[in-house]
């Protein structure tokens, strides 16, 4: 009799896990919970950068390493990834479908705003509940509030925006451009990850024909 858990999985047998373990498990270290980064991916040159989800990571470099494989390992191409600490993003209220958040933004919001000098802010918009935020572009401003006002003057149009995310340029880690283009260049070769690569109708047809003959 061995004292180790016997598994059908050879990987697990190599770990020599005790066959019996107590029912108590030490509570997880609270610090195990890394902070949250929002991940944005641009799949193609002529498509907008879009929010894809989050990763938990200790630093933004690691957030990028994680984001690349979790959010850009599929598809035919990828031209860039941005990662942004969730706490660095300023969020507007959210409206009902069909309502435009810009209609609620007026000049007064800039009163009493904390001015930090002129910088670039990136603006993401949500077009419909249930969809993802996508990048509209950038504005120059002295504060988040001014950025909001400038965003209205720059991006408001007849298509309503329900919700805005605004981020200071310096808070974004951008992995994109010529320097990084080649890290995605084998994506089209990863056919084994694609449903298209598993056609077998011919095999079934042949099998059925043989069955009928027999």
């Amino acid at each position: 009799m061995s004292d180790f858990l016997k598994s059908l999985d050879p990987r697990i047998n190599r770990l020599s896990i005790p066959a019996e373990f107590g029912s108590s498990f030490p509570e997880k270290d609270e610090k195990d919970q890394f902070i949250t980064y929002e991940v944005f991916v641009q799949p193609k040159e002529n498509k907008a950068m879009q929010h894809e989800g989050i990763v938990h990571a200790p630093t933004e470099e690691m957030a990028f390493l994680f984001a690349k494989e979790q959010f850009s390992r599929r598809g035919m191409s990828c031209v860039g990834i941005w990662v942004i600490k969730t706490t660095a993003i300023q969020v507007s209220p959210i409206t009902e479908n069909g309502e435009d958040i810009y209609d609620y933004i007026n000049k007064e919001i800039m009163e009493g705003a904390e001015e930090n000098g002129l910088s670039t802010y990136q603006v993401f918009q949500l077009a419909k509940r249930g969809k993802q935020h996508s990048l509209s572009g950038s504005v120059e401003a002295n504060s988040f509030e001014e950025a909001l006002w400038n965003a209205k003057n720059t991006f408001a149009d007849d298509k309503p925006a329900l919700n805005l995310w605004i981020v200071k340029e310096e808070d974004i880690l951008k992995i994109e451009g010529d320097e990084f283009a080649d890290i995605w260049n084998t994506l089209p070769d990863k056919k084994y990850r694609d449903a298209m690569d598993y056609k077998a109708t011919e095999k079934i047809k042949k099998f059925k024909e043989e069955q009928q003959k027999a």
Binding site: P10, R11, R14, F34, V55, H56, A57, P58, T59, E61, M62, L65, F66, K68, E69, Q70, R73, A181, D182, I183, W184, N185, T186, D189, K190, Y192
Partner: protein
């Protein structure tokens, strides 16, 4: 340069990648944190995919098809360095091995991208980008962990000390070194090794890890000539367990 020499080169590259990819895939579903589980699995897939690309080149040169070559040879027919066949161990070792190996591979691919044999150059050029991400990943992890706390630092240092002699085995000279250099295929193992030492030195210094005096290390050679540790044959038997239930079957 003879075809035999070229095959020798392609085999050692492909075998390294297959065995390391296989080893690293053992972490899939059991990684230290979810996101890293995913990233490390992608890189394991990249490695196996890279080996397939090189076995395909060999197939074009008249060798058997990739499945037969990968799943039916015995340990002594494999030309991988011993570094890649060692058990995965804990994450410190798996990471250090990935760091040491991929730095070497990146240099190798950079050189082979300029190779006069068009087919080889094309494959190397393409795969270089993948390996660039692997190196970014490895550098970041090695730096982050080694600088983090005492516990991680000492684990990473021990893993490095253990792995280095095996890592030098990557550069075990082949019988054909001079042929490769003369034909301009690539600059040879010595050249890769020199560049590699420089590259890893920079990162390890930032990581606060110590490199020993190279002269005190005895490289673990033999892998390139079919001499392996006790770990390779069981790995291969496991890998081909299903395949060999019926090698003629279509799985």
């Amino acid at each position: 340069m003879t075809e035999e020499a070229l095959k020798d080169l392609l085999y050692k590259i492909a075998d390294d990648q297959l065995i390391l990819g296989h080893r690293n895939s053992e972490w899939t579903g059991m990684g230290p944190l979810l996101e890293e589980d995913i990233a490390f699995s992608s890189m394991a897939q990249d490695k196996v995919g890279q080996s397939l690309a090189f076995y395909n080149l060999l197939h074009q040169l008249g060798e058997q098809d990739p499945d037969t070559v990968a799943f039916t040879r015995n340990a002594e027919q494999f030309h991988n360095c011993q570094l890649v066949e060692l058990p995965s161990g804990e994450y410190d070792f798996s990471l250090i091995r990935h760091f040491l190996f991929d730095h070497a591979e990146f240099i190798r691919f950079q050189m082979l991208a300029e190779c006069p044999i068009e087919e080889v150059a094309q494959v190397a050029k393409k795969l270089k980008g993948e390996v660039k991400y692997h190196v970014m990943h490895a550098n970041t992890w090695v730096k982050q962990l080694s600088n983090a706390n005492e516990e991680a630092h000492s684990k990473m240092q021990s893993a490095l000390d253990y792995a280095l002699p095996y890592a030098l085995g990557i550069f075990e000279p082949s019988k054909y070194e001079n042929d490769f250099i003369e034909a301009g295929i690539y600059a040879g193992e010595k050249a890769i090794e020199t560049q590699w030492k420089e590259n890893i030195h920079m990162v390890l210094e930032e990581a606060g890890l110590k490199l020993p005096d190279w002269d005190t290390l005895k490289p673990v050679y033999g892998g390139r000539y079919g001499k392996h540790t006790e770990y390779l044959q069981p790995l291969l038997s496991e890998m081909s367990e299903v395949f060999n239930e019926d090698p003629t079957a279509d799985w």
